[in-house]
């Protein structure tokens, strides 16, 4: 078992927590049922873009927080890539100190309202929860509580800013404003650096803005967290592509002492099957960007998006679920997931699959597209799929899908969204000749410090991992910030 950090164990013997623990018997706590997150009705929400999850009320949050046993060895914390002091903030909620709870989270997590919504807690903290591991009961709803604390703080108008070291005036550049970049920027600002985040798009937030839909993560919530970072002194420059608008060399000449590259996996993959370039076939990135970032579904905005009656989304990840549920909300009569394995192997969060099913999405599992057909204008109108069966496990440990010969049939479609993964964006790597890369196009880094083969350049998130989650990217950003701090301090000492 990995070590549970000292700062997490340190607060447990505090008088208020000891008293709180003793106020109720463990049996009393474990007999409480996990509080269900209130949701919009599926039939209504499938026609709007409002959030599906409505958030816990104060009473619900306190009740859920009461379930937490404040374990001496809080295994939940092992599951958190950014090292949140989970029992500490949950006990703050139980004692009705909601602002205090938010403060605890923000010590190590720059984007609590985001993580409380999109983290796969069931695979991380909640997976490691004592309830899940030992009691065989549903885990404490850590994610829902994190969201509650963050939302409470935001709505209170009393947003706290983490403690910031005295400014040292040293300039550090962060390339990309997605979760990795924002996490790095937050920590670097706390260390006292003069941080500027450079973003290629016209909005800050990366995948949080262009990728994740409003019904799962409203842009407004991302903006509030970004505003908070501005208050911490972080500067942002949009419409600026490092490696294009200015080179790393230009920025070094302007005094930047180190760089964090979190430029993401912005290069969609296609399947390279016949007909894939017909009109009406999108990458999930394009489809979601048009709708989420460019607001194409609103007539007031100039960007268009093609709409479909019969929409097929290829893939089984969270992006596929986001795409298919978006298509449903834009009026699709038939919205289908076409996935080559079975539902057990789906990489999407269980909650997302469940929500999609409730909203009337059809699942064609163990199906794979092999060709597309189009009308005389080149607009896709038919898709040929092949049935699959599961064979032996492959390198990912999941059973390999094997085509069933002669099982092909055609489905009418007028919109297809390909969500089969992304590759690292090539712009930054191609602007740095000496940067060591993997065969997959990701940047090679030291696992502890996130330092690349070029000493003043650090990297993390999807440009290193090739496609992962918001929270893993944020964990990388935090590690890199520590790595950059060490690198600069050593350089300062040497001079």
């Amino acid at each position: 078992m990995e070590k549970i950090a000292e700062y997490i164990k340190k607060g447990r013997p505090d008088a208020w927590r000891t008293e709180l623990r003793k106020s109720k018997k463990a049996k009393e706590r474990t007999s409480i049922e996990r509080v269900k997150m209130p949701e919009q009705d599926p039939a209504i929400r499938a026609t709007n873009s409002l959030e599906v999850n409505l958030g816990l009320t104060e009473d619900m949050a306190v009740l859920e927080a009461t379930r937490c046993l404040d374990c001496p060895e809080p295994t939940c914390t092992i599951g958190c890539p950014v090292g949140i002091d989970i029992p500490h903030f949950i006990k703050k909620i139980e004692s009705h100190d909601f602002l205090g709870a938010a403060k605890v989270i923000k010590q190590t997590n720059a984007l609590p309202a985001v993580c409380g919504r999109v983290c796969p807690q069931e695979k991380q903290c909640e997976l490691q929860c004592f309830y899940n591991q030992k009691l065989k009961k549903p885990a404490v709803a850590i994610g829902n509580l994190e969201r509650f604390a963050a939302d409470y703080e935001r709505n209170s108008g009393k947003m706290s800013i983490p403690e910031i070291a005295e400014s040292n005036g040293i300039k550090v550049a962060v390339v990309g404003s997605g979760p990795a970049g924002l996490a790095a920027a937050g920590d670097l600002a706390k260390f006292g650096y003069d941080v500027t985040v450079f973003e290629a798009l016209h909005e800050i937030g990366g995948v949080l803005k262009y990728g994740i839909p409003e019904f799962r993560l409203p842009n407004e919530i991302v903006d509030v967290e970004i505003e908070n970072m501005r208050k911490m002194g972080v500067k942002f420059r949009t419409d600026f592509i490092v490696g294009k608008t200015a080179s790393f060399e230009d920025l070094r000449a302007e005094g930047y002492q180190a760089f964090f590259v979190g430029s993401g996996a912005g290069l969609p993959r296609f399947m390279n099957i016949p007909g894939e370039n017909y009109n009406g076939i999108f990458s999930s990135n394009e489809y979601l960007t048009r709708v989420n970032l460019m607001k194409a579904s609103s007539e007031e905005y100039d960007t268009p998006v093609l709409k479909g009656k019969n929409v097929a989304v290829i893939g089984g990840g969270n992006t596929a679920m986001d795409s298919v549920r978006t298509a449903k909300r834009l009026g699709a009569e038939r919205a289908m997931i076409v996935y080559r394995r079975s539902i057990q192997e789906m990489p999407a969060r269980v909650e997302e699959v469940h929500h999609a099913q409730e909203e009337g999405v059809e699942f064609l599992n163990l199906h794979n597209p092999i060709e597309y057909f189009a009308d005389e204008n080149g607009r896709v109108n038919k898709m040929r799929v092949q049935k699959m069966e599961l064979g032996e496990p492959d390198a990912s440990g999941r059973r390999r899908p094997v085509p069933i010969e002669g099982s092909e049939f055609d489905i009418d479609v007028d919109l297809v969204i390909v969500a089969v993964g992304v590759s690292p964006n090539p712009i930054v790597p191609s602007s740095l000749k000496d940067l060591e890369m993997t065969g997959w196009g990701t940047i090679v880094v030291d696992k502890e410090t996130m330092q690349s083969s070029i000493p003043d350049i650090f990297a993390g998130g999807d440009i290193v991992r090739g496609g992962a989650t918001v929270i893993l990217a944020m964990g990388d950003g935090r590690k890199a910030a520590a790595g950059i701090n060490k690198y600069i301090q050593e350089k300062v000492k040497a001079n």
Partner: protein, 278 residues
């Protein structure tokens, strides 16, 4: 925010804009483009950089009215500001000394062609430019082309200026007359298709610059993808310039029409709002 410093109409639907963009002016090379967004509700559209002045910190764009965004842009005045201008994007033109380069520009295609003409000339090549338009007023940047070309041939469909005939006729004239080592053809997709069919007859290596639909312009969305030599490429990061003989022109023409209906409807809505303001 990027201020429009100068605006000059070449014809009713085509204008030259000089825009403040100091960093882009410094780093851009021939072949690069920018993505612009006019305002909060605007779409992102790509425009090739026709020229720049690094000292003044400006770039030159040539804009033709084709839809809502370009119509709105042409309605903006000197002193107005464009909300977003990002770049330079795409790969720069591969410039080398090859001998004689034939540069053909159709309509506003002369604008992206201009920096390429300039760069090939500066690399020591003999540069012959053919610029064409349907009528006299649609032939643009003739003086600038003359400055950097050894010879300029002007073609108009109706014979109202220069020689009467299509751009391909002007290209044939040069190829028949002298050895051409390389050709660059830029203009509407259909013009590039026929321009490169002309050079293919003579086996002259030819580059074209593709102006596909884009959203982000940084490789993220794949809206600009096109089959090149049987492989799908992204125009924004793999291009915009490609070997003309590898381009699937029918697919290019088909993909350019993806939003034809939506674009027409949006333009009609726009015209109505403009009229109601008047």
């Amino acid at each position: 925010m990027n201020k429009i410093l100068e605006k000059e109409f070449f014809s009713a639907n085509v204008a030259k804009l000089i825009i403040e963009a100091p960093e882009i002016a410094k780093s851009r090379k021939a072949g690069h483009f920018v993505i612009i967004r006019l305002d909060e509700k605007g779409e992102r559209i790509p425009l090739t950089i026709a020229d720049s002045d690094p000292e003044k910190g400006t770039i030159m764009l040539v804009v033709q009215r084709v839809g809502v965004t370009t119509a709105k842009l042409l309605a903006m005045n000197e002193g107005d500001k464009i909300l977003d201008v990002v770049g330079p994007l795409g790969k720069a033109t591969h410039i080398e000394k090859v001998g004689t380069v034939l540069c053909a520009g159709g309509g506003v295609g002369a604008a992206p062609l201009l920096p390429i003409v300039k760069a090939f000339k500066e690399a020591g090549n003999r540069v012959i430019s053919v610029i064409a338009g349907r009528t006299k007023e649609l032939v643009i940047l003739e003086d600038e082309m003359r400055e950097y070309s050894d010879e300029v041939i002007v073609m108009t469909d109706d014979g109202s200026y220069g020689k009467k005939g299509l751009v391909t006729a002007g290209m044939e004239e040069v190829i028949q007359r002298e050895k051409v080592n390389k050709a660059v053809v830029i203009g509407p997709a259909i013009m590039m298709k026929f321009g490169s069919l002309t050079t293919k007859k003579y086996n002259i290596p030819t580059d074209v610059s593709l102006n596909t639909i884009m959203v982000d312009g940084t490789g993220m969305c794949g809206a600009c993808r096109i089959s090149i030599g049987g492989k799908t490429k992204f125009v924004c990061v793999d291009g915009p310039e490609f070997d003309a003989f590898q381009v699937d022109w029918d697919q290019m023409l088909m993909r350019m029409g993806a939003y034809k209906k939506e674009e027409r409807e949006a333009y009609e809505r726009y015209l109505k709002t403009v009229e109601s303001v008047k």
